[in-house]
Homo-oligomer: 179 residues x 2
DNA sequence: AAAGCTCCTTACCGATCGGTAAGTTTACCG
DNA sequence: CGGTAAACTTACCGATCGGTAAGGAGCTTT
């Protein structure tokens, strides 16, 4: 049920998703949906924590065993990919969707999850770069790259998480040699 | 007028933006808006070509003088930054917004612009990587990084385009030495 | 002055939105 | 069986959406 709602929110965005459609795709009636989640905002929040907690757990678990900054960045990607692989490749969108009503609990919560992911990446980057603004910049660029890779990956079902990770390492190999 | 509409679409997304709000912020009445742009979709298309044509022109102009793949990637970023600087830093969102109604002329047109940008980046990457899937992957990652940098830049008005470009080159310098 | 024309607004249309009241089915207990 | 409480649906609410009809203002022409 949360899974269906998450799908719809990812497809249409917050404003574009309708409770009617979500209820229909859950094969229940709208009042039932409102029985479990009392409003659209609460439903989105539920989807957000559902996806966000899982994603952050996957990333932090994956990055826990990494020591060098390089390993940490690659482990972050690996955690992201494995979460997306075993859950749904499009679900990250519920955290990184950009058009939710400002000044709501929803906006606040998404920022919270983004900050936690940012913290992981920024910590890794601060082991490589000195200037704090450079760290910020590089961390945001890396996260954006990850976002974009996931978006691309959604349309490439034949590529597995392992293959994606392997290609990523292969592409970065000539660079990583420098570190 | 196109500028105001573009702002609103970037802030709220396609579904979230209302013609009422756009008209109000243009300080005209809604029927006037419909006189010039006959529907919401047409208005969005107008914003899209308005931003898209300018952005692609800026990128292609900037990348024209670059020869090595490395220079081409950096020139793409420079073109992007200079366009964003002299127009509006948030406007790229009208091309990379992800929640527009599927199977419409709008969706088709955004894909067209994304493809043109992708072509520039992919061409540069194909000078560095051999495997075509690696090229795809790297190009999408780079574009995502650029998107994310722009999003970050919106909230850092004190950073100029020149400084951003300089920092980017500085961060990439140790890597670029390998190429 | 009256007619005509352009420009623009108020006021409305049906559809759909988020959300709910009230009633109907189902199932269980005596 | 009868009664009752939970589970669920139909049908609706006001608000807002994209989009439009109808009718002023202001200006020129005759």
């Amino acid at each position: 049920m949360l899974e269906v709602a998450t799908e719809v929110f990812c497809e249409r965005g917050y404003a574009g998703a309708s409770m009617n459609e979500i209820a229909a795709r859950c094969e229940i009636s709208k009042p039932m949906l409102y029985l479990y989640f009392e409003s659209k905002e609460k439903l989105y929040l539920a989807c957000l924590t559902f996806v966000g907690d899982g994603l952050i757990a996957a990333i932090e678990k994956s990055v826990a065993g990494a020591h060098s900054p390089t390993e940490q960045v690659l482990a972050t990607a690996a955690g992201l990919f494995s979460f997306a692989e075993q859950r749904d490749r499009a679900w990250w969108g519920v955290i990184y969707a950009e058009t939710m009503p400002a000044d709501t609990a929803v906006a606040e919560a998404t920022i919270g999850y983004r900050d936690r992911i940012y913290a992981v990446v920024a910590r890794a980057m601060s082991g490589v770069l000195d200037d704090p603004l450079d760290v910020e910049l590089a961390a945001h660029a890396l996260i954006g790259a990850g976002e974009s890779l996931l978006r691309w990956w959604v349309d490439r079902p034949e590529v597995t998480a392992a293959e994606l990770q392997q290609r990523l390492v292969g592409i970065l190999a000539p660079f990583l040699g420098r570190l």
